[in-house]
Subunit: 324 residues, 2 copies
């Protein structure tokens, strides 16, 4: 590991992913643990970092560490205050927070972004930076969608994050499935198993819901139909959660698309299965072009931020001054 240049950490609420990066940000090794900031092992942050990357650090010598995500929140290891929008690579890199974690090591933490609406994000700003590296033409004009527990819609223009919005879709789905009357039929049918969300019949239920939201203009008056359709025998219990998912994703798309400026090209970033579901739902909007899909771009973003902040050197020694 003598070629190691950076230990990059994507440290969120539910998981910790560590990457050992070499010259040009090449991934030399990577590991993942379920040690999100709310699920730390005994010994807390120190122990988690030591366990996941201690051997890398011992072997690599004085390699810098850079982390993004909830690790920089008030519930995290050390606070990296939010940077207000609009913000770009230079703004973010200038606001990295350095934090002494002992044993002569410093952890650099990427700040989250805030919007005066108000809204906040932590971690997604780094994914946006990475996406603009992987697909540079997006920097001019794009809407980046990161589906998840708290989905983010990020408007990028001329290399800057100008605006963003958070949708509760993923968490809303989980609490309704697990705790409301809408989830009861499916809970009774498959108390332990995963819901059937990928069979042709489940996908038809999903499509039906997306189209209903698009026609109705809101999911609010349709939520209870998840139950009424089951009661009336028109929807099987095991497909009811696919239907609910269609209502919530459809409503997020309805709102997000209506807030897009100048029909900015859409990009989906994240988990392939979830992005595929969003792409399917987008099919209900005939005027929306097929979105690009990028996998998790946090590593690329962490490397680019480290370059910009001078924590690492680029191949030509010049990249670190390039804020595009």
């Amino acid at each position: 590991v003598s070629a190691a240049r950076l230990v990059a950490l994507d440290w969120g609420t539910s998981s910790l992913r560590a990457f050992l990066l070499g010259a040009d940000g090449r991934v030399l090794a990577q590991r993942q643990q379920p040690w999100g900031i709310q699920h730390l092992p005994t010994g807390g942050f120190d122990a988690a970092l030591n366990d996941i990357a201690g051997d890398w650090l011992a072997a690599a010598g004085p390699v810098p560490l850079l982390a993004c995500g909830m690790v920089g929140s008030a519930q995290g290891w050390h606070v990296a205050p939010y940077v207000p929008c609009p913000a770009d690579l230079a703004t973010l890199a200038a606001a990295l927070v350095a934090f002494d974690i002992g044993q002569g090591r410093v952890l650099h933490i990427v700040p989250g972004l805030s919007h005066q609406r108000p809204d906040v994000m932590r971690g997604e700003e780094t994914q946006v930076i990475g996406a603009l590296i992987q697909a540079p033409r997006l920097a001019e004009h794009a809407t980046l969608v990161m589906p998840g527990t708290h989905s983010k819609w990020v408007a990028v223009r001329d290399g800057r994050i100008g605006d963003f919005s958070t949708y509760l879709s993923g968490e809303l789905f989980a609490v309704l499935r697990d705790h409301s009357i809408l989830g009861r039929p499916q809970r009774e049918v498959t108390p332990t198993a995963q819901a059937d969300e990928d069979s042709p019949a489940a996908l038809r239920a999903f499509d039906l819901a997306v189209n209903a939201v698009r026609r109705q203009g809101s999911a609010t008056p349709l939520l209870f139909s998840t139950r009424a359709l089951v009661l009336s025998g028109r929807l099987r219990a095991e497909h009811s959660m696919a239907y609910l998912s269609g209502l919530l994703i459809g409503d997020e798309l309805r709102c997000g698309l209506s807030g897009r400026v100048d029909n900015a090209p859409l990009v989906l970033i994240g988990d392939a299965a979830l992005c595929l579901r969003y792409r399917r739902a987008l099919g209900a909007w005939a005027d929306v072009a097929e979105p690009l899909h990028l996998s998790n771009t946090a590593v690329a973003g962490l490397w680019r931020l480290a370059l910009q902040a001078g924590l690492v050197q680029g191949a030509g020694g010049a990249d670190d001054d390039d804020s595009r």
Copy 2:
């Protein structure tokens, strides 16, 4: 209790209310127990009925029994199949289901209503019948709103229930408060106490949310602001649930009002505190006239249905043929 004419039961998911009615539907006695169909005492339906009304029945002799609500659902005591909309007093009375409960007694059960959208109700149809007795001019044209766990908006025209919609607002609020990240700040501040929802500051938070939904045209992009406002110090944790309540009630009103036909006069039916909250939220819509408020009208509805079905006789002996 020799004057007793009817034992009327309003038997829902979470409570059982029993009324001993005399001539003209006058309430001679009433009792309430938390014995909804999902919280029955040992001995089940039989025991619950015997405990709450056994002495009335023993003293009153062969008095008829009429029940409305979830007691007639698939999870209830005996199924009273849904009657499809449109429906009126005569349709409902003709569809009462008689069920032998032993000891020579018959329980009559009011059917629920279904709409092909699909949607369903049980119990509210009886409240509508009661409301039209208490305020007869509503029969011509009105939108009756029954706030609650599953709020119902019922369109009445010429004495008939033509259309209705269910909103999940109450349940959505409860699951988000108890199980989502939105409720966490308030859960930490007041883990056991009730949230502060009636102080001037809490009411301001409620109003702020209602107005935001009215302006935005949807609560979906605003849900996460419940958290972001607390994080940014602009909303105190103890007022955050009043804010969330404003988002959800505001969204219900936005959808319900837009679905009203010909600006039908609004009527709020049910719990006084909750109806007051809805009335307050309606203030954000300058063009909506102050709504009438009626307390629970189920008793009046049960008496009227009993008259119509011939289970009891009216004062003049003629009311039972009047289907208006």
